[in-house]
Symmetry: C2
Subunit: 432 residues, 2 copies
C-alpha cells in the first residue's frame, strides 16, 4: 500500500475549493466540539415536527387517492411505490392544485416537476437555462448558499445584487444587467426569495415585486423564485408571490416540503410553465427539467412522494393548512427571539443593531467587530452560544461584521438563555 495521496485537490473540480461547499460542514464541526453551547446556527425544523410521523398511514392515504381519484387498481397503485416512476413526478397534480388554491399560482400538473428537495430543482433549473459561457446568474447578496453552490458546480458565473431592507435592490439589478451587456454578456436569470429570504430575513413589498417583474420582461431575464419561507408570513399579512403575479411566464417557482412537511422526505418542486420552442413542436420547461433529472436522480423516490402526497391529502390538499401549526410555532419563536434581543441587548455596545423580520427563521445582528471563525470560537467556548457568520452568505465582503441567528428549532427558554449568553459575549468581546 502506498502512503502518498492519490489525488490532489487542485486537480478536482474548482467548486470543491469554494467555501460555500464547506460551510455546512464547518458549522457542524464547531457544534460537535461544543455540544453544550446553545446554537442559533442551524435552520433545522422544530423537534415537535420531526417525530411520531405515521408514514404508513400517510402512504395508505395516498394509495387510496390513487385508486379513488385516478382510477388505478390497488395492486398497480402499490407497485408505483416500489418501481421506477416518471421523472417528472407522481404528485404533480396535488402540488399544482395546492399552489393554485393557496397561492394563486395558475399552473397545471404538466408545468410541475417533483425534485429531491428544492436543491435539485435549483440545479436542474440552472442547468437548463445556462448554455453559454457569457450568461451570468444574478443573486441577492447575501444569498442562500444552495443556489451559489449549484452555480459553482455547473461553472456558471454569479453576480451579486445588493439586498436592502426591502429585499433585492432593483436598481442595482438593472445596473448589473447594463454592465453585463456592456461586457458582451447577459444576465440570464436572477435568483430571489421575496418572502423572508435566508439569510437576509427581508420581504419585498408588492410594488417592488411588480417592478422586478417589469424589469425581467424589459431585460429578457428569468426569475428563479424560492418560496421556502413564505408560509411563515402572518396569515392576515401575506403578499402574492412573484409567480402569482407573473403574467408573462418570467418566473420559475421553487418550493420544498422540508419546512412545511419534514426535511427527511427530500421532496421539493419547480413550477416551470415556460413554453419551449423545438424543431418538432413545443414543450414546457418543466418537461425539459424532467429530462435533465433522468441524468441526476432518475426520479424522486415514490416512497417519499407518497408520504408527502398523504400529508397534502390529510390537510385538505392545502399547503397552507399543512403548514399552519408550523407557521404558528416559528412565528412564536421569532417573536420570542426579537423580544429577548430587545431586553438583553438594551445596553449592547455601540454598533450592535439587528433587524425585526415579520417571518422566516432568521434575525441578522450587526456587530462593531469582525464576525469571523475566531470570534465564533470564543463565543462557543467561553460563552456557550453559537451563531453563523454572515460572511458565508455574501459574495462581496459586506457581511463580515454580521451574524445570523436562527430560532426555528429551539424552545423559548433556550432562546432566552441563548440571547442572555449572546448579550454577555457581545458586551465583553465586542465593546470598546
Amino acid at each position: 500500500m502506498t502512503t502518498a495521496p492519490d489525488l490532489d485537490a487542485r486537480d478536482l473540480h474548482g467548486s470543491l475549493q469554494d467555501p460555500v461547499l464547506g460551510s455546512i460542514g464547518f458549522l457542524n464541526e464547531v457544534m460537535s466540539r461544543h455540544p453544550d453551547a446553545i446554537s442559533f446556527a442551524p435552520g433545522a425544523p422544530h423537534p415537535e415536527f420531526v417525530r411520531h410521523l405515521d408514514t404508513r398511514a400517510l402512504t395508505d392515504r395516498f394509495l387510496t387517492h390513487l385508486v379513488a381519484d385516478r382510477g388505478l387498481d390497488p395492486a398497480r397503485a402499490e407497485r408505483l411505490l416500489y418501481e421506477y416512476g416518471p421523472a417528472q413526478g407522481l404528485i404533480n397534480d396535488l402540488v399544482a392544485g395546492a399552489l393554485r388554491a393557496d397561492q394563486g399560482i395558475r399552473a397545471d400538473a404538466r408545468a410541475v416537476v417533483i425534485t429531491v428537495g428544492a436543491q435539485e430543482a435549483m440545479l436542474l433549473t440552472l442547468r437548463a437555462l445556462f448554455r453559454e459561457a457569457g450568461d451570468v446568474l444574478a443573486v441577492a447578496d447575501p444569498c442562500f448558499v444552495g443556489i451559489v453552490g449549484a452555480a459553482r458546480l455547473l461553472d456558471i458565473p454569479v453576480v451579486a445584487v445588493h439586498e436592502g431592507d426591502n429585499g433585492l435592490d432593483i436598481d442595482d439589478l438593472s445596473a448589473r444587467c447594463r454592465e453585463a451587456h456592456a461586457a458582451g454578456r447577459r444576465v440570464r436569470a436572477c435568483y430571489v426569495a421575496p418572502d423572508f429570504s435566508n439569510p437576509g430575513g427581508v420581504r419585498m413589498p408588492l410594488d417592488l415585486r411588480r417592478r422586478l417583474l417589469d424589469l425581467a420582461a424589459r431585460e429578457d431575464l428569468l426569475l428563479i423564485e424560492d418560496n421556502a419561507y413564505g408560509f411563515t408570513a402572518p396569515e392576515d399579512d401575506t403578499l402574492p408571490g412573484l409567480k402569482a403575479l407573473d403574467t408573462g411566464r418570467r418566473v420559475i417557482h421553487l418550493g420544498t416540503f422540508a419546512k412545511v412537511g419534514f426535511p427527511g422526505a427530500r421532496v421539493g418542486y419547480a413550477v416551470a410553465d415556460q413554453r419551449v420552442r423545438h424543431a418538432g413542436g413545443e414543450r414546457l420547461l418543466a418537461e425539459e427539467l424532467a429530462d435533465l433529472k433522468t441524468m441526476v436522480t432518475v426520479n424522486t423516490s415514490p416512497l417519499s412522494q407518497a408520504v408527502v402526497g398523504g400529508l397534502l391529502l390529510d390537510h385538505g390538499r392545502s399547503l397552507t393548512a399543512l403548514a399552519r401549526r408550523k407557521a404558528d410555532r416559528y412565528r412564536r419563536n421569532l417573536a420570542c427571539l426579537a423580544d429577548a434581543l430587545e431586553r438583553h441587548l438594551a445596553d449592547a455596545p455601540a454598533g450592535v443593531t439587528w433587524n425585526r423580520p415579520a417571518g422566516g427563521f432568521f434575525v441578522r445582528v450587526n456587530l462593531p467587530v469582525r464576525a469571523d471563525a475566531a470570534l465564533l470560537e470564543v463565543s462557543a467556548r467561553d460563552y456557550g452560544v453559537l451563531w453563523t457568520p454572515m460572511s458565508q452568505f455574501f459574495l462581496t465582503g459586506r457581511g463580515d461584521r454580521q451574524i445570523r441567528l436562527s430560532c426555528s428549532y429551539l424552545e423559548p427558554d433556550r432562546i432566552e438563555t441563548g440571547v442572555r449568553r449572546l448579550a454577555t459575549f457581545l458586551r465583553k468581546e465586542t465593546g470598546t
Copy 2:
C-alpha cells in the same frame, strides 16, 4: 396571454438536444401507444419484487439497529428519519460491511457515500474528477445512457472505447489514451461495467480485469466501475470486481439497490477511498463527493435509507443474500429467453445472430437491416413486440443493426410468446 413560445430550445443547455436524454421518453411513448405489445424494452424489476414490501417493518428493523448497535436512544434514532441528515449517508457502515463480506472490497464506511441511486453517484463522481476542459471520459461503446447523459450535463467530452465479446477492449482504450496525449488532452477516467454490462451483456475475464488495472496505473487514469448487474452471476462462477482487485486505489465503485432491492428506494452508493491532498491535510474522495452532494440533493432521503438498511439487516447484512431470490429469477428468465431464441430463430434470415450472456438482463440481436425507430414501429404495430434499438447506446454508428432484448420483468410464457412474435417479424420484415 401571449401565444408565442417563451424560450427556444437552442437557447437551453446543449445536453437537452442530445438524444440520450430523450431515449427513455421515446421508448415509453412507443410502449404507451402499443399497450398490448410484449415489450422487451425496459430493464424493469420483475413484478414479484415490487409488491408487499413492509416498509414499516424494515424501518423498525433499522431503528432497532441504530439503538442496539450504535447506541442511539430510540427518540433520537427516530428523529434521524425525518430530519436532514449527513450528506455522506446513514447506512455507510452497513454498505461497507456488505461489500467487504460479499465482494472482498476493503473500504471502510468513511469511503462510502450514499446517493440517490447510482445515477447521482455517477454525476458526483464525474463532477469531482473533471476540472479541465482538456480532460475526457472514456466509456465502453455501447454504453449505459446514464453515464453519457451525466457527462453531457457537465459538458464533459466523451470518447468511445470498443467493447467486444470480452468487454472493454483494452488495446483500444490504450490507443484512446495515446490519442488524447497527442492532442494535449488526457483520459481522466474510464467508465466500465465489467459484469454483464448494460446493454452489451458482456463480462470481462479475470486476466483482462488485471490488465485494465495495470493500464489505469500506467496511464494515471481512474476507473469508474458500475456493478449494477454483478449479482446475476451464477453463484459458482463469480469473478472479483475491479474494486476487489484494486491495490492502488484506482477504482471508484458504484452500486445501486434498484436491482437487489427495489428501484423506488432511489438508493445507491459510491465507494471512493482515494486520498485527496489538501493544503490543510488529507481527505477521502468520498468526502469530496459528499460536499458536492450538498449542492445536488443535500442528502439521500433517510426514509429510503432506513428501508434499505432494514433489507440488509434482514438478510444477514449481505447483498448476496438480499439478491439471491432475484438473481435466481433473472437467471431463469435469461435462460428462458436464450432457449426461446434458439428454438424460434433456428430458421431466421441470414444475418440474424445473438449473444448468450451468462448474466445480466439483456441479450443483443444482430439484424441484417437497420434497427431504427421506423422498424420498431412496424414491429410494435404489426407484430406486437417491442425492443430497444441498440443505436441509442452507441456513440459511434456501429449499433445501427442491433437490438437489445430485456427479459427481467416478463413471465416465461410472455418471453416465449414475445420471441415467437419477434421471429415472425424478423422473417417477414428483415429477410431478403
